[in-house]
């Protein structure tokens, strides 16, 4: 356990030095909110102020894109380079690599989500009770685990050249259909969005702010995706055990 934590700490240190990761998790959501947030004052989405919706959406965007694109690319590259093999030759338990990745990505999601929420509070003028801030943070933070699981599956399955377009494609689908760039409205798009985990994570956030009860389907959709991605990750890690 101590060794796995040491590995996770090293992963955090690496990610902090990685510009690409900072751009996806922190700079894009913060910049989008700073630039676009003030322009939609007065509008509404999902039953809350647009400023509040946009805060939730961009916090989710930073959290999930960091978990997805960062992890999948790195895992794939490190498998190709042989770092995963090298770790297998150390006394470290075999699960440490994946556990370390998850822990590091969870740790690094914190500042990105917190920054956007702070921006929402002080720039966007979003007000609510303290517990709601924590609940929203928790929902987005835990929700991003879904994409960490997917990233592990992709990273173990595909070579780095292939991972890039796959992760990008999923990123776009999840952002657009999940209503992270702009709120989805109207029949068709919303019907699709209901099955997208990023949409449901955002809706949990806005429902908390609006003070309405969260429909059970939101949790079911997220849990179903998480279970599917987790199963995919486990199968992928096992299937490649002979070729690390």
């Amino acid at each position: 356990m101590k060794n796995t934590l040491a590995l996770a700490r090293a992963e955090v240190m690496r990610l902090r030095r990685n510009k690409r990761y900072a751009i996806f998790t922190v700079i894009i959501p913060v910049a989008l909110y700073a630039v676009l947030g003030p322009q939609v004052k007065g509008a509404h989405a999902y039953g809350v102020d647009y400023a509040a919706y946009y805060m939730i959406a961009l916090a989710a965007l930073g959290a999930f894109s960091g978990a997805l694109t960062g992890n999948s690319q790195r895992i794939s590259q490190e498998r190709k380079d042989g770092w995963v093999r090298q770790l297998r030759l150390t006394p470290l338990p075999p699960s440490s690599y994946v556990v370390g990745k998850i822990a590091a990505s969870m740790a690094l999601t914190i500042p990105s989500v917190v920054l956007v929420l702070l921006l929402g509070r002080f720039e966007g003028g979003v007000h609510m009770e303290l517990w709601k801030w924590f609940a929203i943070f928790g929902a987005i933070w835990i929700g991003s685990l879904t994409f960490t699981a997917l990233a592990i599956a992709i990273g173990y399955r595909f070579m780095p050249d292939t991972v890039q377009p796959i992760a990008m494609g999923i990123y776009l689908i999840m952002s657009i259909f999940g209503g992270l760039w702009f709120a989805v409205s109207g029949g068709f798009l919303q019907d699709i969005a209901k099955f997208i985990p990023t949409y449901q994570i955002t809706r949990i956030g806005t429902d908390i702010i609006a003070g309405v009860s969260i429909p059970m389907t939101a949790f079911i959709v997220i849990a179903a995706w998480f279970a599917a991605f987790l199963a995919l990750a486990i199968v992928s890690v096992r299937a490649t055990a002979e070729t690390v």
Partner: protein, 322 residues
């Protein structure tokens, strides 16, 4: 420690009839071998002989199709997790975005019997660039960092797969000087190499494999004598082929026009027989075979005796497994 292990008779490594097949290709085909405590063993074989696959199985990166591999009397996985093995593989990589020192410190921390980081850096000859980023190193520097990761702990067995490729002559010498320090501490060393003079100088024992099977196992001197330790060459006007083929201690004979080249395990006996038969060879030359020639002779003979078409595809098979 080492003596004690030897006395109990537990080999450091044992392969019992180990096979690894990929479809129809037999990468390792019934390999049986043993490493005893304190030995320095060179693992030789042509490309595609099954060296990498064997080392991968030894280090629990691949599972044998059949047969048994033991390390310190238990299974390789547990020996590795107890820190009894330090290994460096051709295919092993490094964590990028950290400095050499950070990486060595991290991996040292995983070890139950860690060595001081500074000592590891010094022994691997990497202290000069310890504060550089791992992803900014040259090929030879990377190779030395990978070696450092194999010696971060006080392991009983060190496994090195072609440790000195990408090193210049100077670095290679420094590498072996450092390695001798490790071996002097009583560690068992198994290394695969392409440089046969390295095997000749550093190893107590040489294991030669070809097409996944054990071909020769002995001291460098034994391997050389098995291949025919001496080469005798001369010119002869009247060549009597049956007579030459019947010479004592003969390993191999090649005749080209009036030029005869003999490989012999006892050059004196062979030569005297030629003279006793009344021949007077001209331009007589007797020379020692190096390990390299011995190795080539042994594997060439083995390949000659083997004519299954699958043999040609071993190199490709091993390549495609990567």
């Amino acid at each position: 420690m080492t003596q004690g292990l030897g006395a109990t008779g537990t080999p450091v490594v044992s392969f019992e009839n180990v096979r690894k097949t990929y479809g129809k290709v037999r990468a390792v085909d019934g390999l049986t071998m043993e490493l005893r405590p304190g030995e320095t063993v060179a693992f030789l074989g042509p490309n595609g002989a099954g060296k990498s696959t064997s080392l991968d199985m030894l280090l629990d990166l691949r599972k044998p199709t059949s047969g048994r591999i033991a390390m310190f009397g238990s299974d390789p996985y547990h020996a590795i997790k107890e820190g009894r093995v330090g290994a460096m593989l051709q295919s092993g990589g490094l964590m990028p975005e950290v400095t050499v020192r950070e990486l060595v410190t991290l991996v040292t921390g995983f070890h139950p019997k860690p060595e001081p980081v500074e000592q590891t850096l010094r022994r691997a000859g990497i202290e000069k660039f310890a504060d550089q980023r791992v992803d900014k190193l040259s090929g030879g520097q990377t190779q030395r960092v990978r070696f450092a990761l194999a010696i971060v702990g006080d392991s009983d067995l060190i496994v090195l797969d072609e440790p000195t490729t990408a090193m210049d002559v100077e670095t290679r010498r420094a590498f072996w000087d450092n390695m001798k320090v490790e071996v002097a501490e009583g560690k068992t060393l198994l290394f695969a190499t392409h440089y046969l003079e390295e095997a000749d100088q550093a190893a107590d024992r040489i294991i030669v494999i070809n097409r996944g099977r054990l071909l020769a196992d002995g001291t460098p001197a034994e391997i050389k004598s098995r291949a025919g330790a001496k080469r005798i060459s001369f010119h002869l006007d009247q060549i009597d082929e049956p007579f030459l083929l019947g010479l004592p201690a003969l390993v191999n004979v090649e005749i080209r026009h009036d030029q005869v080249q003999i490989q012999s395990s006892d050059s004196d006996r062979t030569l005297y027989a030629v003279l006793d038969a009344g021949y007077r060879p001209r331009d007589l030359e007797v020379s020692s075979l190096g390990l390299e020639q011995a190795f080539l002779a042994i594997t060439a003979e083995d390949d000659k005796n083997y004519s299954e078409p699958a043999a040609a595809s071993f190199a490709e098979a091993e390549e495609s497994m990567r």
